[in-house]
Amino acid sequence: MTDLLREIFQTLKCNKLRTSLTGLAVAWGIFMLITLVGMTKGVINSFEKQTASQGSNTINVWPGVTSEPWHGYREGRDVELRTGDMEKLRQTDRQKISDVSSSVYGGGTISTAHEYTSSGYEGVYPSEQRRRGFKMAAGRFINDIDMNQKRKVMVLGEQMVPILFPDKTPAEVIGEKVDCQGLGWTVVGVYESRWSRSVYIPFSTARMLAGNSDKIGSIVVEMTGVETESQGTDLENDIRATLAAAHDFRPTDQSAVWTWNRFTQFLKMQSGMGILNTAMWIIGIFTLLSGIVGVSNIMFVSVRERTHEIGIRRAIGARPRSILTQVIMESVAITSLFGYIGILMGIGLTELLARIFDGSDFITDPRVDISLALEVTAVLIIAGALAGLFPAINALKVKPVEALRDE
């Protein structure tokens, strides 16, 4: 085996320029494939991370302005969402609607004895933690008891801890008091996040601060068991119908309430990602293929040039199979050697991109896993063998008498 390899490298070495030019095409093909696959993976990763952190099974609803007259009302009427609407939405479809919640924002400073921040707060339901995918660095999130008792409790983001409590760890912050809106609050939890600075309090408490008005700025409907785009759209229409009945606007009036169906959007994005992925593979594989065809061509040329040599080898006792193996192995050697260089360069570039885009939302972890590299190696060997097969069959047609013929 090592003998055969030595034999092959000896022949490849005689044609350094040709070998390396051909090899370059293969290396470039593999390099493109790995880079494209890595980039695509990065984009898909960041898409998946975003949907995972924000949830893809929600419909957000905001109040709007009617654009059509209805039941004696004129167009241009403001629609106002109220807390009562949330219960009505819950009743709309008990099977498919698993949770209805809302949030309110409030401004103002949050301060400790020495430090303060003017980030404001957000009054939320306990389910907000699930939707946002928050992990707790310490303590807990808002819970139902907080909601029922309208407790003055607060959940901070990790980023807020060094601002408000410069010498404390998240765990040490639990139970500390802060001031907001002239009231004293207890910190009950710190969530992990590298960038969010939102401060959360119970929705009920926030409403109380807002003077117990039942007007709300938005509603989030969480759905379950919705699998197809049409189911998602149907549910969205049901929600509109419920609100239309409650607020007396035409159910088809698109501007009366605004909705954002993350599920149908997710499906569209997902199919977009699928297309992107396929496109990248096709481009990559064709680039690689052109490299392989180049190798095959070069092997044809090489076999033709070496007709006399092959004749000599046949005359002194090379079996047809040895010739076949040698040509195929030469082709495999070129493709895998240079393919390997391409893999290394591709991995190097994706690694570099991973560093550059570290922490960005656009591309997340474009590194290709080692299993892909191994698969590609296997593909290279097979492709190299195929590229060499036809030239090798040509080589077999060389009869041993060729050796005796004078050039």
Partner: protein, 219 residues
Amino acid sequence: MITLKDINKTYPGAAPLHVLKDISLNIGRGELVSIMGASGSGKSTLLNILGILDGYDSGEYWLDGKLIKNLSENRAADLRNRMIGFVFQSFNLISYKDAADNVALPLFYQGVGRRKRRALAMEQLEKLGLADRAHHLPGELSGGQKQRVAIARSLITRPSIILADEPTGALDSRTSKEVMQIFRDLNSQQGMTIAIVTHDPGVGEQTNRIIRISDGRIV
């Protein structure tokens, strides 16, 4: 060693050419013979058949007691490798392999390990006085040296017979004599059977027997 019975060979084509006509011939073990004849008389064709490089249409060819007829490519390759040593007019060395590797190449196809191959090749080159040229490429050798490397290559598998097609055709008279001397020594000292195709009457004279061929027939 070699027995031919009524061998016929026609090159097919638009105008088929009947090159060998009822050739019958005996070459005994340990003989040194030359085959002579005009250009185009069929000498090389005959030698190709003897070397199992080419087939024939009718008749029988016995080599060392084996009937050589309708062999598979593999069988023919093995017989060439083990029983026949070739020496060509144009040397037919592989240009990117050094002398020792060229000499060792037939052993590669027998599956002999590299180290043993090199050792045997060195031994063979030494016998032919080329030990100091073992690591030179063919391009760095003179014609006579190249032909000696080719002879070393033909001997490395200890074949039953050496077939040489115009081995001195590309050499000057002095190196021709040297090469012929090698053949004579191999024949007289080791009892090697040798058949040499040649144009040169001087070469023919140095063999035990001259087989003359004219227009595809032995005369």
